[in-house]
Symmetry: D2
């Protein structure tokens, strides 16, 4: 119950610290007989990898994954799949100063109070680097869900700082470093350049969807599909808000417009975001998250040290000015892990997982 395992039937146990020897995870519960290679996983790790543009951290993290177990002659065997990523860019520097003071907005303060000890090197366990094993595990879930049911996970950035990003097409997303669904990202680049010069950071809004969803996934009363999505998303570093479907806009909606009508051809709208009563409708899952501005900035901040004395904190190092920029592959992976878990739960209790018959889901 120390919180490092995600899921129960498709259980991903994450380990590692930012500057320790290695990070990784163990996936328990993967169905047997699926073809799986390191390349299947590496492709998703590479999408998340830093250093790919000037707008993200310039740390060099090759993040090469090694499959240690659970695969025999190229196929999953049903036994645990252990994935290992060696840390290579562990700068040997003196962390003693940083170790004694708390950076505003960071987990320094809370780890220290919780455990009475913390690994300060590169953020230790609280580093966003620990999302890499999640992306790796998500790649396994995505492959199974795609091959088995045709589910597809896609995400994009919809706002950065004050700039809302209109949705043009999914086709643009892989063509720019922001995962933005627009053709021309020059405005975003200018915005980020200015921010970086100012030594400051900004937040972002990211959307993630799943299409080709089966119907019937999600467990009432508590382990609802949307509850688990919220759990997954809010548990991601820096996330401060989660919406499903119409989200906070639903507060000002009327019941006569919010409730998605059905016709023999399917749902006529998707205010629900693909979930009713905590169970998937077969429509696209549609989720948005709010990511706070990076706390590691070079602007001096007022804080205290472990003795409770006032200190001024300046965070040097190679940090993302907007952690939301690299969030898209991660939230896709998280959504895949949630759907995978519920697909297996549905098989357990109800014996099968299936697409909605008759009602064609409206496209989101």
């Amino acid at each position: 119950m120390s919180g490092n395992t995600f899921g129960t039937l498709f259980a991903v146990t994450n380990f590692g610290e930012s500057h320790g020897p290695a990070i990784g995870c163990v996936i328990d519960g993967c169905p047997p007989g699926m073809e799986l290679s390191e390349a299947d996983i590496q492709v998703e790790l590479d999408r998340r990898r830093p250093g790919t543009s000037r707008h993200v951290t310039q740390r060099a993290e090759p993040d090469r994954v090694e499959i240690l177990s659970g695969v025999y002659e190229g196929k999953t065997t049903g036994t645990p799949i252990a994935l290992l990523i060696r840390n290579t860019d562990q700068r040997s520097k003196d962390y003693s100063a940083i170790a004694q003071s708390f950076r505003p907005g960071h987990a320094d303060y809370t780890y220290w109070h919780k455990f009475g000890i913390r690994d300060p090197r590169g953020g230790g366990r609280s580093s966003a680097r620990l999302t890499a094993p999640t992306v790796a595990a998500g790649a396994v879930a995505r492959k199974w869900l795609r091959e088995r049911y045709g589910v597809q996970f896609r995400g994009c950035m919809t706002q950065v700082g004050e700039i809302a990003i209109p949705f043009e097409s999914w086709d643009h997303v892989p063509n720019n470093p922001f995962f933005a669904p627009i053709a021309d990202v020059s405005q975003l680049e200018a915005y980020m350049d200015q921010l970086r010069k100012a030594g400051d950071s900004c937040g972002a809004r990211v959307r993630v969807t799943a299409s080709g969803m089966p119907v019937g996934l999600g467990e009432p009363l508590f382990d609802k599909l949307d509850a688990d999505i919220a759990f997954a998303m809010m548990g991601l570093n820096a996330v401060k808000g989660v919406e499903i479907g119409a989200g906070f806009a639903s507060v000002a909606q009327r019941g006569s417009t919010h409730g998605d009508s059905l016709s023999p051809q399917g749902f006529l709208s998707n205010n629900a975001g693909g979930v009713l009563g905590g169970i998937s409708t077969g429509q696209d899952l549609d989720v948005s998250i709010a990511i706070k501005p990076t706390s590691s900035i070079i602007t001096p901040r007022e804080s205290i040290d472990t003795a409770g004395q006032s200190v001024e904190v300046v965070t040097k190092g190679r940090h993302d000015p907007c952690v939301g920029i690299r969030a898209t592959p991660i939230v896709e992976a998280l959504l895949a892990l949630v759907v995978m878990e519920h697909a297996l739960r549905q098989r357990a209790q109800c014996g099968d997982v299936r697409q909605a018959v008759g009602p064609i889901p409206a496209s989101a």
Copy 2:
């Protein structure tokens, strides 16, 4: 894994259907030796109870709780506490028509697809009536957390439909049927009267806080305090969005303003909402949720039946025009359950739970 248990160390297993013989829950893991009577629980059930104003459903649900186990001579024994609430207002009517068609915005469609069978009487298992056992269990957690650590849970409505409700004082909350923190609720009453006449419904925004929080609660990497809060809140009927601290507003914030600075006297702001790195800071927890408009409205809607044929659906019956109105005691209970769970987890791994020493949390 069928999702009807909330929590692991303080595990609440919920059972029942809206119109079945009874609803209730079993609490496993309550610390022994706490004084507990049915009156301690009833007071919270009464806050949630319908029929207390013209703005909520007029169903008569006395919701008398009976403690079946786990208490001996007025004290908890450490064994499971089973709580039973008999259903008394089960109108015996013919549900055969309703059972064959799907109400837009309801769980009818998804339960039917998931299980191949559903109890249509009063919404069956998906009814908001099933929040009563959650409120009851929450009362037990609240009592322990209050007596042991002085934690206090409070909630209020902050928006109904298009009307934002300013925060005046917690003192007003118990004095009006909206749980609104304002002295004069005449505008809200007029709004609701108009809506009811129109046969429509609206959404709401509700805020819930915990003060007197210990520091160090929450389990990285996945079972973070904020992740579990999001899970709890999004799992509540009709909730479509969850925010912690600055929430979605943090997207447009700068890092230099978002990160809460610390002084020897404590935090200087609370954009974090009381959680950093998934662990409580000792500041007030500050959570907001979006509740969608009630789906049960008398306005006719387009839908289909189980055979996939077009039908027009009109939902009669005694429904809340804004389910958010009665949500406040429920979200307080949910937040208490999350904090309780993490308090026990903290005791397990780190041996104790304690208040932050030195830094006095800024009031939220």
Copy 3:
């Protein structure tokens, strides 16, 4: 994690004390669509019920079960099935004396040290009465496994005190109060009569089997089928030993005789007891348990009170002179719960559960 839930996918949460208002359980995870009535459950409760012969306790416990939820129009809905049994024979007597001293061989001492409080009435939570809800939940599992896969659970007594009971036929088991597989139980009756007169008690050995088993149930590495069987059996009141297949006799066997050979017609022996590598072979599960002599005897015993002072303890009341006599229906239920759990786990990960094809299991 307070231990009152058995299973994860077919999760049975047990509550109640021997002399509290009620005992019962909540079953979460039952597949939907199975016909289920109170009569299906009552038949198993009646097999376990005390007072049916002079060799068991004369307490009157009608143990009428009420289904509170999870069944609609005679079929399971996939939602939690809550089962309630009201306690009716709660003698109102003064437990204050008994509450202050520890009966040798009982849980008095350990409950008091663990929780700092205990319900002494009739053994409270540690009473064997709490096996009734387990039998009830087992009846649900047995019905599903029988209808779905043809699995059959049978148990019998194979030793009482020093008297070994030879296996003659399953047909005799329901015809005597010992669940003994022999036609003539006069020797057993004489033995028990003598023991009862002596004010003493004895142990028993009970065997339980499952036939018609699917192949492939059980999860390596830890949650093996035999590990979970051992957990279930050792967790039953008074059990001090568990064997699978050849059990302790396998210590003196040679590898050349122990390992069950296979022919195209199936296994040629069943030393394994139906489990290899923690996974079912499709052969009969074959389990034996050792049950200690009843601790509640009228012979005076040396003990201490809660203040640590010497006391003499005599346990009056209506106790079974051999708790093993009524154990058979309970261990059948426990075995069914274990098989049910693993059947659902197998569906989750591997998609189906099936009978062994080709190799016909040798009869046990």
Copy 4:
């Protein structure tokens, strides 16, 4: 739920195959602040290591453990401790023949039926090699329990084949390759030499104890201390029986002798084996297990292949003629993991773990 995690609060997730790249585990829930180095773990791995006498397998498995995470500057941080053991003695041979037939007494048959695929190299996942990570994790638990509460775990062999081994002294155990508590093991050596020449194998009986036990560990109703011990022991490769305290001998005991009396100086006997009502008494835990004879023998056996055709199987390779010989360090580790788990559970619900006050436990 695929069964590769042991424990919940002190959760050990095991991964790897006998001849894959590596084996290991992730420990989640270790309390922070304990000094821990690889040497602390290696010492226990070395006790289990093969190749140390002619009576065990001659495989060379150096089993060097590497700590990948969870330790900072020599102390545990409260985050997951990942332990890695690279496989070095992976003989590259052709397993295609063996892969198609089922060795009697092995998991070949059941893995193949369960998963539809199996890794045949060295037994794959079902190899006893996978007990190495368990021993490693146990070393961490043992260290914490020893330093915190003074608990000590000790095991010894009490029977090999037909030869019962009398208990002389714990001091002899480390001085012979059998973990036998006797000074002169020449009889055992002769027995094993003869068996090896005959190309056969035998079983063993092993005893494991814990002294210095706190009182109050174990969770009624189901997750009892003895139930979890039985689960752990029966889940170990080749185990077919488990006893606690008097075990199967209690069947023929009388209640007047079995129940352990108490005096102000403590318990007067230990038939209970240190557990009453599923909760530790503070006396020594006393557990015995039956280990079946090694199934891998060079004697030809009758079996079938994956097509169901008759084959003759001869298992070559370097196998232990009695797997029980190396079992002692493993069962000590398993018992430590169970006690650790329940110590943390006790802290969670009851706030502390403590030694019995007053009654001094009788030595076992």
